[in-house]
């Protein structure tokens, strides 16, 4: 908050430029946030993070050869992402993206 107030003053009219510095920056705390680089990071079908195994795979505790849960993410042409398991169950009934109702076609798959 304090930073943004200073920002506003600095950007103010020419007055500040001529006069002595009103503020000096003595300390600066940078905060970084991160999120997965996907449009939706939670699968809207099972409501589990797409990077984790889906609710069904968790219930079955399916593991692959390396002992990892083998539950991949699928992206549609509409850029919506889901667990592959969740989406393949749904397209059997209705071949549309359940978020935008567009015809579903796979853009890519993976983690």
């Amino acid at each position: 908050m304090a930073d943004s107030e200073q920002d506003n003053t600095d950007r103010g009219d020419g007055d500040n430029l001529k006069s002595d510095k009103l503020f000096t920056l003595k300390k600066w705390n940078a905060v970084a946030m991160w999120s997965w680089d996907v449009e939706c990071d939670t699968c809207a079908i099972c409501r589990v993070q797409v990077m984790d195994a889906c609710l069904r795979c968790q219930a079955e505790s399916k593991k692959d050869f390396y002992g990892r849960q083998d539950c991949v993410v699928v992206w549609g042409e509409c850029n919506h992402s889901f667990h592959y398991c969740c989406m393949s169950l749904w397209v059997k009934q209705n071949n549309r993206c359940p978020l935008c109702q567009q015809e579903w076609s796979i853009q890519r798959m993976g983690k």
Binding site: A44, I45, C46, R47, L55, R56, A59, E60, C86, L89, W90, Q93, N94, R96, P98, L99, Q101
Partner: protein, 182 residues
């Protein structure tokens, strides 16, 4: 060679794996419902109330709607809502247990609401991205905003409305007095 013991063993295996499959699906449904029921209760419209007969069975409950405006205001309407183990790939099943005169609800209790349709080509039907709170909102709105005379389930009700709104109104009131008294 087919032996009785072999056959019994095979049959046993089949039914066992079937019941395992059922439990797995039911557990997925129940996990979804734990969150959805909580969300539904937090966002319940003031005209609605939900009751669970058995708190361990989240997939079966009763919804009571008491509309505060519109033709059905003053009535008390009960809906039985249940989710099969296919939830949320399959929509909830809804039955109206209060007899009423409504174009989108039959006198037998069948409810015509787009989001409750399993297969729909127009994109208005059920999708696994929908939640219980959407179903409650939809049912509640059937008495106001979503009331639709153009695509009726109870044709007689819709026709009466188009012919004579006053007698439609009084027939609704009669039904409310008779079946949906507070």
């Amino acid at each position: 060679m087919i032996t009785l013991r072999g056959k019994l063993k095979k049959d046993g295996d089949v039914s066992n794996s079937k019941s395992k499959e059922y439990n797995k699906r039911a557990s997925v449904r129940d996990k979804l419902l734990v969150k959805e029921v909580q969300e539904m209760e937090q966002t319940l419209p003031s005209t609605c109330q939900v009751t669970f007969d058995d708190p361990h069975r989240l997939h079966e409950f009763i919804l009571m709607i008491v509309p505060d405006e519109g033709y059905w205001a003053g009535g008390r309407f009960y809906f039985q809502i249940s989710m099969s183990e296919e939830y949320n790939m399959a929509p909830p099943k809804v039955k109206c247990t209060t007899k009423l005169w409504h174009p989108n609800i039959s006198e037998e209790g069948a409810v015509c609401l787009s989001i409750l349709r399993q297969n729909s080509i127009d994109g208005m039907g059920w999708a696994p991205t929908r939640k219980l709170k959407d179903v409650i909102w939809g049912l509640n709105s059937l008495f106001t905003d979503l009331l639709n005379f153009d695509d009726p389930l109870n044709r007689d009700a819709a026709e009466l409305y188009l012919k004579d709104k006053d007698s439609f109104r009084s027939k609704v009131k009669d039904y409310v007095r008779q079946y949906a008294k507070r």
